[in-house]
Structures are given as structure tokens and as C-alpha cells.
């Protein structure tokens, strides 16, 4: 995809009739810690014991159109990985709808549901933990397409070779086990495995975070080449703003389970609206910055078990006022391309 295409994507707002490839409507995911026997007993006897519930993802709306690269950014515990898993269809949501090409995946009939799931694949962060150490590369890459009948009879080797070559791996290594590869090569195996079932949509969950800079650059270049060649759509989850800035057309920022801002990449990095986004950008060390005082956001990320009331960011926010403590700000349009969840926007 050329830069001009990317610009067109980024500067086009969603029209009423447009059907995005993936759409999340009010999706939430809660994780509850089940009570043990003692706690249940205590509750029966009248003690005030409640299940601990984490709102990992809290009423998130998200749209990704075909061909787009959306970057999902946030710090640890903000729910970005959980959201990625829901989008990839490997984790059910507690609430809300996931729409694939306009259809709710929960209501799709058997065959269509299977295809919808197969078209969405995921690439994981840790290339050491996400590959079965006891399977040969050929089986890691070839098993899924064989099961799903994507390989012609007798065409297994040829198919696997093509997948490996596309991910930049030498097919001569296909009889090897994962431990015989370096981190970067393993990530390529993970990419070959995801692409082997011919997906249209890829969720990359911190896919380059564990790699050295020079290897990271190789993998990022591979992602961009594959996007062009196979017309892929990405949801790119990362805590690294530099990577996201480089790769994405649009950026979504999350904080403690909620989306706080969403805008075209250029806009986020030049004219961020939400105070959290701005402080996040200030905190990022940049190679161009020399010997300067690091800007800091005060305070720590609160526990998602017990998030602050109102706007989750208000205890750390330099601009917070009374309303922020009581009312949850809605994600509202700043203009046709830009959405932000901050009460300050109502003041102006």
C-alpha cells in the first residue's frame, strides 16, 4: 500500500452505509475471581464477601475497515490484549456484539461462523511460548490448513514451502523444531502459521516487543510487505508508540479498559486531544531528544480491580475538575475523524 492510499484511509470518516470488516458494539469483558469454600461459607453466614471482578474491557466500540491498519495502544493492564483476543475470536465477550462484515458472529450459522473465525488470525508476543516445542515447523504451519481442507491432496509439502518462503524462512528448515531457531525466526514461524489459513484480518499482539531492534525492523518490514501482497487488515496491539506511529493508519488509545481516544495516526501524534494521550506522548523517549528533562505523569496506573470513579484518569490528570470524579466521559466526536472521551471537550 502506498502512502497516498494510507492517507485516503486515514482521512475518510465512516459513512452511514459503510460496513466495516470488524465492528465491536459495546463489548465488555469481565474476569471474576470465584469465591473459595471458606468465602462462600462466610457469605452464607451473612458476611459481606463479594466476588472480585476486573473489568478488563469496558463498553468498547471499535471499527476496522478492510485494508486498514489500526494501532491499539495502552499501558499494561489496560485491556488491550483482552480486546485483541475478543476481536480475533479466541475469547468470548461478556457483553456486547462482535460483527464480522456486518453480521453478528454469535448468530452466524455453523459453516459461516467457522469461516469467519478462520479469516481472523492472531500473532502472539512471545515466540518462545506460542509454538509447540514438540512439533516440527512443517506441522506447526501445515496442520491448520490441512484440517480445514485448504490443502489439495498430496500438496502438503508444496503448500508449507510456499507459506514459509512468504514469511522469509528457508523451507529447507521445515523438519526442524522451534528451539533450533532464533527469536526473530520463531516470530516468522508464528507469522507463517497465522497466514497459512489464508486470513483477511490479523491481530498482532505485541508481535515485535520481545525482539531486538534490528530484528524488530525486519519483522515490521515483513508485516508491511505482507499487507501489500495479501491485502491484509491489521489490528496492531503495542505499548511502543514508535512502532505504532510507523505502521498504523489510525490509532486507538486505551486506559483501564476504556477507549479514551481514537484518531488518524498523524492527528494523534500532532494534535492529541485527551490529557492521557498527551502525557503518554510526552513520556516516550525519542531518539531525537537529547539530554532533556523527562516529562512525567504523576502517580501510577490504578489497579483495574478497583478503578477510580468517573473518568479513570482523573487522579493523574493535571486538568481534572469536579465532574471528572463522578461522571464517566463518553467517547465523543471532536470532529468527523477524531473521537475523545474527555469532559474538557464539553467546556469549550
Amino acid at each position: 500500500m502506498s502512502a497516498t492510499d494510507a492517507e485516503i484511509y486515514a482521512t475518510r470518516s465512516f459513512t452511514e452505509t459503510e460496513v466495516p470488516m470488524i465492528e465491536l458494539k459495546g463489548v465488555s469483558r469481565r474476569f471474576a475471581k470465584k469465591l473459595d469454600v471458606a468465602a462462600k461459607l462466610a457469605r452464607k453466614l451473612g458476611a459481606d464477601v463479594k466476588e472480585e471482578v476486573v473489568h478488563a474491557v469496558d463498553h468498547v466500540d471499535l471499527r476496522v475497515r478492510k485494508g486498514e491498519v489500526v494501532g491499539l495502544v495502552g499501558e499494561s493492564g489496560c485491556g488491550k490484549s483482552t480486546l485483541g483476543r475478543i476481536v480475533a475470536g479466541i475469547l468470548p465477550q461478556s457483553e456486547g456484539q462482535v460483527l464480522w462484515n456486518g453480521q453478528d458472529v454469535a448468530t452466524l450459522p455453523g459453516e459461516a461462523a467457522r469461516t469467519a473465525k478462520l479469516r481472523r488470525q492472531m500473532i502472539f508476543q512471545d515466540p518462545y511460548a506460542s509454538l509447540n516445542p514438540r512439533m516440527r515447523v512443517a506441522d506447526i504451519v501445515g496442520e491448520a490448513p490441512q484440517v480445514h481442507g485448504l490443502i489439495k491432496r498430496g500438496g502438503f509439502d508444496e503448500y508449507v514451502d510456499e507459506q514459509m518462503r512468504r514469511a522469509g524462512l528457508d523451507p529447507a528448515f521445515k523438519r526442524r523444531y522451534p528451539h533450533q531457531f532464533s527469536g526473530g525466526q520463531r516470530q516468522r514461524i508464528g507469522i507463517a502459521r497465522a497466514l497459512a489459513v489464508q486470513p483477511e484480518f490479523i491481530v498482532c499482539d505485541e508481535a515485535v516487543a520481545a525482539l531486538d531492534v534490528s530484528i524488530q525492523a525486519q519483522i515490521l518490514n515483513l508485516f508491511m510487505r505482507l499487507r501489500r501482497e495479501l491485502d491484509l487488515t491489521y489490528l496492531f496491539i503495542s505499548h511502543d508508540l514508535g512502532v505504532v506511529e510507523h505502521l498504523s493508519d489510525r490509532v486507538v488509545i486505551m486506559y483501564l479498559g476504556r477507549v479514551v481516544e481514537e484518531a488518524p495516526t498523524e492527528r494523534v501524534f500532532t494534535a492529541a486531544n485527551h490529557p492521557y494521550t498527551r502525557s503518554l506522548l510526552d513520556s516516550v523517549p525519542r531518539i531525537g531528544n537529547r539530554k532533556r528533562a523527562f516529562a512525567t505523569v504523576k502517580g501510577e496506573i490504578p489497579s483495574p480491580l478497583n478503578p477510580p470513579s468517573g473518568c479513570h484518569f482523573h487522579p493523574r490528570c493535571p486538568l481534572a475538575f469536579d465532574r471528572c470524579k463522578v461522571e464517566v466521559p463518553k467517547l465523543k466526536a471532536v470532529d468527523s475523524l477524531h473521537r475523545s472521551a474527555c469532559h474538557l471537550n464539553d467546556r469549550a
Partner: protein, 327 residues
């Protein structure tokens, strides 16, 4: 000008394994002055951590310092006995590790650990030691240090734990701190806070610091000098601004090109082909030869660290000399 706080000269730390001799640190030299920060940058396996461990005298068998000297205020640490080293370590030289959960004892309260550190090197009353511990926690920006002293490590978040580790390192006002990737495991906003604290501390206390990291952008904002390591050797050494703006060595050049934020969006990154060679069988001559776009026949000869421009050293036969000199 006074003598540098630390001067490392031709340091070689080798590991004698069954598979062969691993030259983890091979002929490394650099100096750190009072109140200055040296960024020691490299990818995994480049020997940056082993360099830090060598300075601290923490290299375990089968590894050992084979040759070279580590002059700390004129005294060679490499020749000191274990007992003499123990008096310096934690007292005049301190280290901060990547994972604060590994450095803090999970079953002891913070005050126990901090007071123990104070008393290990100084004969003071316990009350005074407690006072010192509390001041150190306050110095690294931990709110309500009195209460926090009574907490256990698991009651702290990752960023706070790292602050505690830094506070312990600061207890004796060391002249040198070796920090090994202390912010790598932290979130950006927390990393920003820690970097700001560290910057302030170095400036006010005059502590010299070696900041070991793989992240060029952290070094860019924090360090005064930079030493880039590749396969156990320092390949480029000089002022941070100079090196990052006009790198001499092709590896530094490639590394900077690999950092996404610097490149124009959407364009392919200038990647370095191939991967780091195994330290067990390094190619003859320049270790970067096989991945280098400027390699020529004479790169089979081992290059020496040479001063190509004033105060700019590079270990290369064909550095980006014209570009660096032109600007």
C-alpha cells in the same frame, strides 16, 4: 580536570564452557566521569550485561576476567580479593538490575532489607539507619515513605519496586551506579518518571552512572556518552549527540535506521540483514562483516578501535567518515 570515576581498559571476560571459549567481553575500554551517564548499548548477547557484571565483580564460573583493568578512582577492581570487593560493592559501587522482583527478598519487609544494607557497611544505630532508609525512599519519589518501609515487596507495583531497588542502591551515596536495563520491564509513563528521578540524582549527587540498555531512545535523552557493543566488542564510542546524529560504524548506522519512530511513516525500515552471530564461532576479522553493507576484502583483518574524528572512536575499516565529518 580530576581523574574519571571509572576507567575500563582492555577488559576481557571469557566463559570457558564445554562447547568452547565464549568471549563475552573482548577488549572493552571506556571511561565515566563524575556526574556523567554512559549509555552502554547493544542487542541481546552483545556482552553489555557481562561488562556490568565484570565491573561489579559478579562474574561466576565458568566465566572470569582474563585480562584488562577496571580502574575505580585509580584502584584496579580486577585485582581485588573477594573480601575487598565486598566492601566496595553496595557501598561505593552499586548496581540496579532489570527485574526488581529478583533483587528484593520477597519474605522480608523493605525496612529490614534497607537497614541491613546500611549496617553492612557502616557502624550506625538502627534508628539512624532507618532514618537514612526513609530519606532514600523519599529521594526516589515514593510517597509516605514511613508507611512504605513496613511493606513487603509484593505490595509494591513494578515501578515502585524499581524505585525501592534504586533507593537501596543510593543508601551509601555511591560514586558509581551500574544500571542494567532498569526500566525495560516498565510502562512508558512509569519509565519516564524513573528516568526523570535518575537524571535529577546524577546531577545533584555527582554519581557516575553506566546505563545498560538496548533502547537507543532512552540513551538519547539520558546519557552523555555512548558505547555501542556488538559481539563482545565496543564498535563505537563517543558523545551521544554526535554518535546518534552522525554514526561512524555501519552497525550503529543500521541500528539507528531500525528504530521506527525516526523513519518516515509507512516506509520500509532500514533493516540490518541477518542476525547476530553466535559468540562461539565468530567470523574472523570484523564480527559485523557478514551483515555489513560496506564490507570489503580487508574486513577479514580484525579492526581496532580507532579515533577517526576528535573524541569519536569506531572499530571499523570503512566507517561513515565523510558523512560524519561533513555535518
Amino acid at each position: 580536570m580530576s581523574a574519571p570515576t571509572l576507567e575500563v581498559r582492555n577488559l576481557c571476560t571469557h566463559f570457558f564452557t564445554r562447547a568452547g571459549v565464549v568471549k563475552a567481553v573482548d577488549d572493552v575500554s571506556f571511561t565515566v566521569d563524575r556526574g556523567k551517564v554512559l549509555g552502554l548499548v547493544g542487542e541481546s548477547g552483545s556482552g553489555k550485561t557481562v561488562t556490568g557484571f565484570s565491573i561489579m565483580g559478579l562474574v561466576d564460573a565458568p566465566g572470569r576476567i582474563v585480562s584488562g583493568s577496571i580502574l575505580f578512582q585509580g584502584k584496579d577492581l580486577a585485582t581485588l580479593s573477594e573480601e575487598e570487593m565486598r566492601h566496595l560493592r553496595g557501598n561505593r559501587i552499586a548496581m540496579i538490575f532489570q527485574d526488581p522482583m529478583m533483587t528484593l527478598n520477597p519474605v522480608l519487609r523493605i525496612d529490614t532489607q534497607m537497614i541491613e544494607t546500611v549496617l553492612a557497611h557502616e557502624k550506625v544505630s538502627e534508628d539512624e539507619a532507618r532514618q537514612r532508609s526513609r530519606d532514600a525512599l523519599g529521594m526516589v519519589g515514593i510517597p509516605s515513605p514511613d508507611e512504605r518501609l513496613k511493606s513487603y515487596p509484593h505490595q509494591f507495583s513494578g515501578g515502585m519496586r524499581q524505585r525501592v531497588a534504586i533507593a537501596i542502591a543510593l543508601l551509601h551515596r555511591p560514586e558509581l551506579i551500574v544500571a542494567d536495563e532498569p526500566t525495560t520491564a516498565l510502562d512508558v509513563t512509569i519509565q519516564g518518571q524513573i528516568l526523570a528521578e535518575v537524571q535529577k540524582l546524577c546531577a545533584t549527587t555527582g554519581t557516575a552512572m553506566i546505563w545498560i540498555t538496548h533502547d537507543l531512545s532512552v540513551v538519547a535523552g539520558l546519557a552523555d556518552d555512548i558505547a555501542v557493543m556488538y559481539a563482545g566488542k565496543v564498535v563505537e564510542y563517543g558523545d551521544v549527540g554526535e554518535v546518534l546524529d552522525k554514526p561512524l560504524h555501519p552497525y550503529t548506522h543500521g541500528l539507528i535506521g531500525s528504530v521506527p519512530s525516526r523513519n518516515k511513516r509507512g516506509e520500509p525500515l532500514r533493516q540490518i540483514p541477518g542476525m547476530t552471530p553466535s559468540l562461539l564461532n565468530l567470523p574472523e576479522g570484523c564480527a559485523f562483516r557478514a551483515r555489513c553493507p560496506r564490507a570489503q576484502a580487508d574486513c577479514v583483518q580484525r579492526p581496532e578501535l580507532r579515533e577517526w574524528l576528535p573524541a569519536r572512536l569506531a572499530r571499523c575499516h570503512h566507517p561513515h567518515r565523510e558523512e560524519a565529518a561533513a555535518a
